[in-house]
Amino acid sequence: MPPMSEHEAPNRPRSKTDLFLSFTWLALQGFGGVLAVVQRVLVEEKRWMTREQFVEDWAVAQIMPGPNVVNLSLMIGGRYFGLAGALAGVAGMLAAPLVVALLLAIAFGGVSDAAWAQGALRGMGAVSAGLIAAVGLKLIGALKTNPMGMPVCIGLAVLSFVGVGVMRWPLAWVLLGTGLLGCGWAYVQLARQVTAKEQA
């Protein structure tokens, strides 16, 4: 009985080098956060994961402590090539951008106070907010196959959004509250599916 989330992705990384280079390339495109690029490259271009798999992995990467995209690259690398793959993924995500950041620090250490530099950061910030919002909107489609059903999913999403975005409650509390509700209800629904299958 394969779970419905295991619709396999059409492709996979060919080697650890492929993994390292792919992650390097997408990290170097990721200004103001890498998530939007990760989603586009891994799901839409390379097709290493389905949209559903991406949502599931992203959920885990975000819940675990540590930088989210680093967690994500650990998980993806580890799945294909074990510990060596995890290290290749993280190294790809960090090595080249680290060099770029250090070069910027050496060249522009004092420039960051200048008005044009502040303005550029402001403009890039506005764009990266839009990138994150677009990823969120694209991923909503992945909820269609969720065992909780679309109405419950939307209810949970609205609750979480209001808690974090409007009420400004601490993230940990919102995750604990809506998370327990969501996981509990998903468990009940999945258990029902299993019983229904066994009776059929």
Partner: protein, 200 residues
């Protein structure tokens, strides 16, 4: 003025421990622990000047790659300050690199080990009802968190009369990325340009 430091092995160990202790607390991104880093590095030990601290965060945001690299830049600057007492020169590069290593290992090792082991275990038991319920139950919540992040970034600009171009830029980016395949680097570049010219 940047501090001129003489750091002992115990000091470096202290910095490693501080970052390592924050690593497991960084749920929802390492940037949430930045206030505690400021308390330690600027207020208590005085290893970094205020402007070095702020520019580390600003530069990491402007550079491509995961935002966690702001920790690397803080380590780099602590190394530079420590090298200043030795006359700078090649000491700067060596101690700067050493600072990057100490800071990044500290912030990444504990959370990465935890994430790697936990997700390996979860992947081996992915057919279990509880694991499937966790992934399904969290999916709508993490999607809502993405939208909330974008929302919070946008409303942090809170003067509509002045900030409406920022709102418009974010909204436009969201629609373009959601509905088209336009390369994200173009959008980031346009955002930076509009900002540098003072139009947003």
């Amino acid at each position: 003025m940047n501090p001129v430091l003489t750091l002992t092995a115990a000091d470096w160990l202290g910095m490693f421990q501080h970052f390592a202790s924050l690593s497991l607390l960084a749920v929802g991104g390492a940037i949430t622990t930045a206030p505690d880093m400021h308390r330690y590095l600027v207020d208590e030990t005085r290893w970094l000047s205020d402007s070095q601290f702020t520019s580390s965060i600003a530069l990491a945001q402007a550079a491509p790659g995961p935002n966690i690299l702001f920790v690397a830049l803080m380590g780099w600057n602590v190394g530079l300050n420590a090298a200043a007492s030795l006359g700078g020169g090649w000491h700067s590069a060596a101690l700067g690199a050493w600072g990057v290593l100490v800071a990044m290992l500290g912030i990444m090792l504990p959370s990465s080990i935890l994430t790697y082991t936990a997700t390996r275990w979860a992947h081996q038991h992915r057919e279990r009802l509880a694991i499937r319920a966790f992934k399904s139950g969290m999916a709508p919540i993490v999607i809502a968190l993405l939208l909330a992040t974008a929302w919070l970034l946008t409303v942090s600009h809170n003067q509509p009369a002045r900030d409406w171009p920022i709102y418009a830029l974010t909204l436009l980016t969201t629609l373009i990325v959601w509905r088209t395949k336009v390369h994200m680097l173009w959008l980031i570049g346009i955002g930076a340009l509009l900002g540098a010219l003072g139009w947003v």
